[in-house]
C-alpha cells in the first residue's frame, strides 16, 4: 500500500485544483480546527462559518502556501485562531483591536513554521502538555484567556481583577518558561522534562 500523502502533498494537488485532494485535506484537518474554533467562539454556527472561511482561504492561497513551504497544520491553526479572535471581538461589539492583531502577519506566509518543524512538535505534544501543567495557576489562567478568549493584557487584568503590571509580567514569565521548556522538549524524547 502506498504511504498516505502528507497534508503538504495534498495541498500541492489542491493548488493544481484537485478537489478530491482538497476534500481529503479537509477531512484530515477540519476536526482539529473546528475544535479550536468551538473553544474560542460562542456557538457552533459561528465556528462553522469561520471554519469555511479558513478553508476557502486555504483553497485560494494554496499555491502561495506551497511555494513558501508552509506547514498546513500550523498555518491553518494560526489562521483559524486569528480569524476566530477577530470574529469574537466583533461579536462582543468591539471595534478593531486597540493593540496589535495577528492577522496582518498572516497576509504573508514566509515566516510560518515548516512542515518538518511541526512534525517534530506533533510527536511531542504530550510532553508539551506537561510543560503547560507546570505553569503556576495564575499564569496558566492568564495565558488561556489570551489564547482562547482573545483578550488583551488590559482586558485580562480587568477580568482577573489584577494590576496590569502583574498580569503583563506573569504572561511574559509564562512565555519565557514555555520557550525554554520547548527548546528542551525539542531535544528529547524522554518524559522527564
Amino acid at each position: 500500500m502506498p504511504p498516505e500523502p502528507t497534508s503538504e502533498e495534498l495541498l500541492i494537488r489542491a493548488a493544481a485544483r484537485d478537489e478530491g485532494a482538497f476534500s481529503e485535506l479537509y477531512d484530515r484537518a477540519a476536526p482539529g480546527v473546528l475544535g479550536l474554533l468551538l473553544r474560542i467562539l460562542p456557538n457552533r454556527a459561528i465556528a462553522e462559518e469561520v471554519l469555511q472561511d479558513v478553508f476557502l482561504r486555504l483553497w485560494s492561497d494554496a499555491r502561495r502556501w506551497t511555494k513558501e513551504n508552509v506547514s498546513v497544520a500550523a498555518g491553518i491553526t494560526l489562521l483559524a485562531r486569528a480569524k476566530a479572535v477577530d470574529r469574537l471581538r466583533i461579536e462582543r461589539n468591539l471595534t478593531a483591536r486597540a493593540t496589535g492583531k495577528a492577522d496582518p502577519l498572516l497576509k504573508f506566509y514566509f515566516w510560518l513554521p515548516r512542515p518538518a518543524e511541526i512534525q517534530l512538535l506533533d510527536g511531542r505534544r504530550d510532553l508539551f502538555r506537561k510543560v503547560i501543567n507546570q505553569l503556576p495557576k495564575p499564569q496558566r489562567q492568564a495565558l488561556e484567556l489570551a489564547v482562547f478568549d482573545g483578550l488583551t493584557e488590559t482586558e485580562i487584568a480587568q477580568k482577573l481583577g489584577e494590576p496590569l503590571a502583574k498580569v503583563r509580567s506573569g504572561l511574559m514569565a509564562a512565555v519565557r518558561f514555555i520557550r525554554h521548556r520547548l527548546a528542551a522538549v525539542m531535544r528529547t524524547w524522554a518524559a522527564n522534562i
Binding site: E19, S23, T152
Partner: protein, 75 residues
C-alpha cells in the same frame, strides 16, 4: 536598532495581547524581513500552535463540507 528588546514579545504579539509600542516595532522589523525577528516569530508560532492544540477536536457537520465544496467551485 537591535531586536533583543523584542525578545519578550513575539508570542504575545502573535496572540494580540501586547501594547501598541511593541506591536509597532515588531511589525516594522517584520516588514523589512529582519532575519532575527522572522526566526523568532516562527519559533513563537511553534508555541502558539502547541497551545491551541490543547483544544479537543470536533467533527464538522458533513453538510458544511458539501457547502464548502460548492462555494469553492464558484471561486
Amino acid at each position: 536598532m537591535g531586536c533583543q528588546h523584542l525578545d519578550e514579545y513575539y508570542e504575545l504579539y502573535l496572540l494580540g495581547t501586547v501594547s501598541e509600542g511593541a506591536c509597532h516595532d515588531i511589525r516594522e522589523h517584520f516588514e523589512r524581513e529582519c532575519p532575527y525577528c522572522v526566526e523568532h516569530l516562527r519559533e513563537a508560532a511553534h508555541s502558539i500552535y502547541l497551545l491551541t492544540m490543547t483544544a479537543r477536536a470536533a467533527r464538522p457537520d458533513p453538510k458544511q463540507k458539501a457547502q464548502l465544496l460548492k462555494r469553492l467551485r464558484k471561486k
